[in-house]
Symmetry: C2
Subunit: 508 residues, 2 copies
């Protein structure tokens, strides 16, 4: 629709100045309400070089409390950023509750510049559309307000502005050879922008096209549309708060889980917990698998593959000891073990996936998560720490998250350490008995144990809904620790070997 944009729109200076003063105070008031109501706000400015993005942002923040906003100027990824999936640097910059994040250029870089300049092959920028829409939908579902502007000027206007900048002693440096090259490709960028607007204007994150020739008109439109969107978001939240007042209580929740038992645990019913490994064989295998993993760790480093290992399992299933064996022979510069507990601080004021985006390994490195994002559909579901709508949509969100990692070439191995209820009791008692193990056993463990059957439903639902071709779950029979350790190591090794054997290179 860009051909329809009336680039002649303008505003006279007196009108602008009057309106701007009023609007500035209005936005400052709105910022306070955004803060009080804990709304995360994300403003994106995209558009042509020299269209006035920086200028619009300067005006936008004119009266805002600087503690409440952050402006992110996005350029080509740094070498450090290039070692992660392309959305990484944006996910970690998403605003927390009551914060405003303003992006001068954004994740749309990939479907504009990377596309037109040929830095990303077709497959990659096509995938990016789905990833971008999923990213924005997840944030919106979580309560984030998204406002996206496309600042539009004509090729002639761009040329005029470049020339004007070049005539100025102070601004000359701003116009680079790349800018002129991009200018000559205006028609190709126009097609890309048109397609981008079409494919990413969604119900939750629509684009606003700004006629950006006249600076007064442009500034005030960005201003007014931002304010209107904030007002609408505040009003909508008043009408339908995110946590519904009549959410089902713990009893109703547990009844629901109990009712689901019959048909939701089939996946776990026939796990053969009798599987064991004789001690001597265990020691032989352990050595062999550790050597294999060591080699693979190095291969991943050389080939710049990231590896994510997820450990989930019953309390006392032996996650800690299992992880110790995995890293036993690894070079500690190549991996990190990340224990995940209840979220606090920034982790609690952002989308629940934010903390995991912050912790994903860079290319060539290995991250082992001792518990993970799956807490959302396990403890948070069973204990009611999130709403039903939240854990239900989490299955899909998690699949999308893991697909993003996979697109980047990341290897995923997800292990569910499974033990019997009797075995857990035995281990709990042992922990009580042995002084050096006692610290491991808490009241919470006993509490969780009481809800074993409910957790069982959540576990089976989790495995059933998030075992995908690109990130499958492996159920590890863990009544015998030796068997479980070797199986875990083999699973990880095989996942890495399979990935290294694939023809398709990672997308970087």
């Amino acid at each position: 629709m860009l051909e329809m944009v009336d680039l002649g729109k303008s505003l006279d200076k007196a009108d602008y100045e009057k309106s701007y003063r009023a609007a500035r105070d209005r936005l400052a008031r709105l910022q306070r309400r955004i803060y009080e109501e804990h709304v995360p706000v994300l403003v994106v400015l995209e558009g042509w070089d020299a269209a006035g993005k920086g200028d619009a942002i300067e005006k936008l923040v004119g009266r805002l409390d600087p503690r409440g906003y952050r402006v992110h100027a996005i350029h080509a990824p740094t070498p450090e950023e290039a070692l992660r999936p392309f959305l990484w640097r944006f996910w970690i910059r998403t605003p927390g509750h009551g914060e405003i994040a303003i992006f001068d250029r954004s994740w749309y870089h990939r479907v504009l510049v990377d596309r037109v300049e040929g830095d990303a092959p077709r497959r990659v920028w096509q995938q990016a559309y789905a990833e971008i829409n999923a990213f924005e939908r997840m944030l919106a579902d979580d309560g984030t307000l998204l406002v996206k502007f496309w600042l539009h000027i004509s090729a002639e206007e761009q040329k005029r502005r470049f020339k004007k900048l070049e005539r100025s002693k102070f601004d000359r440096w701003r116009v680079t050879k790349e800018d002129w090259r991009a200018h000559r490709r205006y028609p190709a960028y126009l097609d890309a922008a048109e397609e981008m607007l079409e494919r990413t204007s969604t119900a939750v994150a629509p684009w606003v096209v700004v006629e950006a020739t006249d600076k007064y008109y442009r500034r005030l439109k960005v201003f007014e549309e931002t304010a209107r969107a904030m007002e609408a978001a505040l009003a909508a939240r008043k009408r339908a708060p995110l946590a519904p007042a009549h959410a089902p209580g713990p009893e109703a929740r547990k009844a629901e889980l109990r009712a689901a038992q019959r048909f939701h645990t089939a996946l776990l019913d026939d796990v053969d917990l009798g599987r064991r490994m004789p001690v001597r064989r265990y020691h032989d295998e352990l050595k062999k698998e550790q050597a294999r993993l060591r080699k693979l760790e190095f291969a991943c480093y050389e080939r710049r593959r990231a590896v994510v290992v997820v450990y989930e399992g019953w309390d006392a299933a032996g996650k800690g000891g299992n992880i110790k064996r995995v890293i036993g022979a690894l070079d500690p510069r190549g991996y990190a073990v990340l224990p995940i507990g209840a979220p606090h601080g920034d982790d609690a004021t952002h989308h629940y996936l934010w903390r995991f985006w912050n912790r994903i390994p860079k290319a060539g490195h290995l991250a082992i998560f001792d518990r993970s994002w799956y807490g959302r559909v396990l403890v948070e579901r069973v204990e009611g720490f999130c709403t039903e709508a939240e854990w239900r949509r989490a299955f899909h969100e998690i699949n999308e998250f893991e697909l993003s990692l996979t697109h980047f070439g990341t290897v995923l191995a997800k292990l569910w350490l499974h033990i019997s209820k009797e075995e857990q009791l035995r281990r709990f008692r042992e922990r009580q008995r042995l002084a050096f193990k006692r610290y491991k056993l808490t009241d919470e463990d006993w509490r969780n144990r009481k809800e074993w059957d409910l957790y069982r439903v959540a576990v089976a639902d989790m495995i059933g809904n998030t075992s995908t071709s690109y990130a499958p779950w492996t159920i590890v029979e863990a009544n015998d620790k030796g068997f479980a350790r070797v199986k875990a190591m083999r699973t990880i090794a095989e996942a890495i070997e399979r990935s290294l054997g694939e023809k398709r290179p990672p997308e970087r």
Copy 2:
């Protein structure tokens, strides 16, 4: 995750019979509540041939009131169905308020059979994923409960069942050569099913995999999961009704529209309403364009292209007279003019796009809509006949709808007939004066006229948000009727010519 499904699950007969009797009554009670609460329910059964879909459906409807459900057995499209986009035959079968529609096979045909058998090229079934997800999301957003089952059996089990059927005198006919051929392709179908489950298990329409070896287990699982989904939907609706109780009143709505005036009407500000065509030239052009359209109508018929023309415009903008000229020289067997007013009956108890899916032209035919689905973002928005969330997401829904039509090769021409407020007044007065025109003018026209400025915002938002590369809007300057008619005809002709000139064949 299909490799994880435990196909050994079973239930003993006594247990099943007791549970089934109780479940049957429970479902009958739920059907009444679904009816009272106006919830549309859509149940999909997919799975292997001979997995027991028909049997599960028979049990499912056991005690239901037959007036409240419809079972749709889906085979390959009929010749009549093949003349429309692939989702057409499913859209028109979606359930209305309080109805239950049960599909024995469904729109997933395209990503399973059409894909594996090579009846649809890769591009087409890849697009189908996006269309399917959009279809299901639109229904869910509108309040429809979706329950999707995949009935899973092993290749060996399928073979056993085919053989057993063949041994029976009565059932022999059920197993065809095609069934055996598909059986031999079990691994290819398995891959396709796996990908299908992954890509279409969304938050609003997740799949339930059913271990279908044992008939008792299979039947009861389908039963229980359907009942549980209905209960959850009824409970959720109680907590958050679709039309929020505190929706903004008409004054707030109008204030919102008024506030948007300044920056939302740019598209319409500089339309040159002075454009006219001298009468003699008009008559010459009219003849020429009519002949051109006649030829194109025939070309579309020959090449099996469907054409959709949308007329929207101000009251008294001349839509009727314009349409008359367009069809002036056409073969009446090739087109239909479809006047759209307020929805009644079935049109009002389905998704608002349902009535338009019901009316789209078949391949080779032309449909001219005098008003259209754009009512959602025009009159329904301004008059508050739908909620803000509804008209906001409609922009995206409409784009997806039109993209579905385009994928099928349908040509879209969308015309906004634009006149000035003064010209409208002149025409209203003329209608009052001339007895034979008086019937055209209603109180509603005067009422709408009072809200001119508010409608102007809605019109500009509509054009800005739904003008896409595949279905662009054309603003027709219509103060001069002759000019408007010729421009409309040319726009339609050019859209058809452009489409006929494209290399890519439609997807059938």
